[in-house]
């Protein structure tokens, strides 16, 4: 392959890669807003994790520690 062809391929590669990255970026932004719109997730409520962080505060989204889960299953 001569240098000219290589350069041309590089330019195409560069262009499409840039388009690809831009799509990913905007795709992610779209995903974030869409998720909130259809109620799949409310991202902004996670900000409360820092504000209500006392050990006695209720978690924003609870997860049962595995052991507690096991105990429940046994009961």
């Amino acid at each position: 392959m001569d240098m000219e062809t290589i350069r041309e391929l590089q330019a195409y590669g560069y262009f499409f890669f840039t388009v690809f990255l831009v799509l990913i970026l905007y795709g992610y932004v779209y995903h974030l807003y869409k998720s909130e719109k259809i109620g799949r997730r409310n991202y902004e409520k996670y900000a409360d994790i820092a504000l209500n962080d006392d050990i006695t505060d209720a978690p924003v989204e609870k997860i049962e520690p595995i052991e507690e889960q096991k105990q429940k299953e046994e009961q």
């Binding site: 992610y28 909130e36 902004e44 996670y46 994790i49 820092a50 504000l51 050990i55 609870k62 997860i63």
Partner: protein, 488 residues
């Protein structure tokens, strides 16, 4: 007193690392001020034989502030923030408690040996990676222990979603693990070729490849320690101290992935007009410009978190420290991209403008955030109010003045230096010899060193305030929800 079956957060490891941050802060910044005066007054190089020379002390300064002060601050905040945002106490797991303490003590041992070895002049001569191979192994063990603690705590959490700060701590852990391993691949010369002492080594990479790996490491150390781990802190401490939720949680996620992706490609800006391939330099330059976006994304998110609450800036010096920190973060992340433009870098590289840039980031952003975090943690860790608001105010202004003196003098010095190096007469002969630039710069070196001294004085005020908070301040009954209580 609470009954024994109520769980509480356990801050024992956070306290230990806070003490370490103060200790290494004093040592690292103290040496920094001293070597700054050496540049203004070269006679200061001859006070303690080989041990007192600039070349011996410089890696002690950088390692002391980076791996001593800043890293201890990062660890201290992890052992504090981690529990709180995951809503689980380390006290619930004796194993993790043990790992945390082991992490601290091994870290201290490695640091101690590191300080001794650097004083003795044992060095791989790689910037920010000077430690020889036996110590590198120690560093790896310390790092793995931190990871065990981090993922162990995540494993027993009650809060399902990992708060954004935890993402940043994880990125710090993974990023540095990768960087450190690859940059410190070294050949122990004694065992391979019977040359040198048993602890000596040479890099596994040679020439341009070594430079590439070195700056892939150096640049991304800035990414994953100086940036990511400090953002982890501000995303927790600023909202918590001000009582304001993060302005946009979605923006915090977007900037997280933006930083992760873009930072890794920008390292070429350290090697502009060197022997690395031209396309890499161009790539580094372009990605550095793009890097403004995710960097400012985080910083603006922080400033907007204070929207409608700017009154707090007047009342609460802690907020002041953190707002100034994010402002300096914006400052260094616009200055860096400017220096990455090839023609600007041709002037700026090797000059004093670079340490000027470095210290906008480290003193303004990293230092202020670390101290603000420790001020916020102190009343909660020691169940006492902060000892003196007045001292905090004076510390703030003394240190801010110090930073301004630092960067303004280094800008002038750097640009003067760069212009003098390239100046030619009408026949194309260089107009100045190297020593001409040195003599011209001495006044600026004096100003810089004095700026550093002011910052160090501020750090002593901080230390005193912290110590008094621990020992002599008024006890508080309940943990403060938001603003840290402080005596006038």
């Amino acid at each position: 007193m609470q009954s024994s079956n109520v769980i509480n957060y356990d801050y024992s490891v956070a306290k230990l690392f806070s003490y370490a941050a103060i200790l290494f802060g004093i040592i690292g910044m103290g040496i920094g001020v001293f070597i700054a005066y050496q540049m203004a007054f070269p006679e200061l190089n001859y006070l303690a034989g080989e041990y007192g020379t600039f070349s011996r002390l410089r890696p002690l300064h950088t390692s002391g502030v980076i791996f001593g002060f800043m890293l201890s601050g990062i660890f201290a905040t992890w052992y504090y923030v981690g529990q709180r945002v995951l809503k689980v106490s380390v006290a619930e797991s004796p194993f993790l408690m043990f790992i945390g303490k082991l992490h601290f003590w091994l870290y201290m041992v490695v640091m101690l040996v590191a300080v001794v070895s650097l004083f003795a002049g044992v060095s791989t001569s790689k910037e920010y990676a000077e430690l020889e191979w036996p110590l590198d192994i120690g560093v790896v063990v310390v790092w793995v222990l931190w990871g065990v603690h981090m993922f162990g705590l995540i494993g027993i959490r009650r809060e399902k979603t990992l708060y954004i700060s935890v993402w940043y701590y994880i990125a710090t852990f993974l990023g540095v693990a990768m960087l450190y391993l690859f940059n410190n691949m070294e050949v122990p010369t004694y065992f391979v070729a019977g040359m040198g002492k048993w602890y000596h080594s040479v890099s596994m990479y040679a020439g341009t490849n070594d430079a590439l790996v070195q700056w892939w490491y150096g640049h991304n150390a800035v990414a994953f320690i100086f940036t990511v781990a400090i953002i982890a802190q501000i995303y927790y401490f600023l909202p918590k101290e001000s009582g304001q939720p993060v302005y946009s949680y979605k923006l915090s996620l977007l900037s997280f992935w933006g930083l992760m992706f873009v930072y890794l490609w920008a390292g070429g800006h350290h090697l502009i007009y060197s022997t690395v391939p031209d396309w890499m330099q161009t790539m580094g330059s372009i990605f550095s410009i793009v890097l403004i976006l995710p960097s400012w994304g985080s910083a603006i998110n922080m400033l907007l978190t204070m929207k409608g609450e700017w009154g707090q800036l007047k009342e609460n010096p802690l907020i002041k420290f953190m707002v100034l920190a994010s402002t300096f973060y914006m400052f260094s992340t616009i200055e860096g991209p400017i220096q990455s433009i090839k023609s600007v870098n041709a002037l700026a590289h090797f000059t004093d403008w670079i340490p000027g840039h470095v210290h906008d980031g480290t003193l303004g952003w990293v230092g202020f955030m670390t101290m603000a975090a420790m001020y916020h943690m102190a009343p909660r860790m020691f169940k006492r109010e902060l000892y003196s608001k007045k001292l905090m105010e004076s510390q703030f202004w003394i240190q801010t003045t110090g930073i301004v003196l630092y960067f303004s003098s280094m800008w002038i010095a750097g640009i003067t230096q760069g212009m003098m190096w390239r100046a030619t007469d009408q026949f194309g002969n260089l107009s100045y010899s190297f020593i001409d630039t040195v003599t011209v710069l001495i006044p600026y070196y004096v100003i810089r060193a004095t700026g550093g001294l002011l910052y160090l004085i501020g750090f002593f005020i901080f230390t005193y305030n912290f110590y008094k908070t621990m020992t002599a301040s008024k006890a508080i009954e309940n943990e403060p929800q938001h603003a840290s209580p402080m005596a006038a």
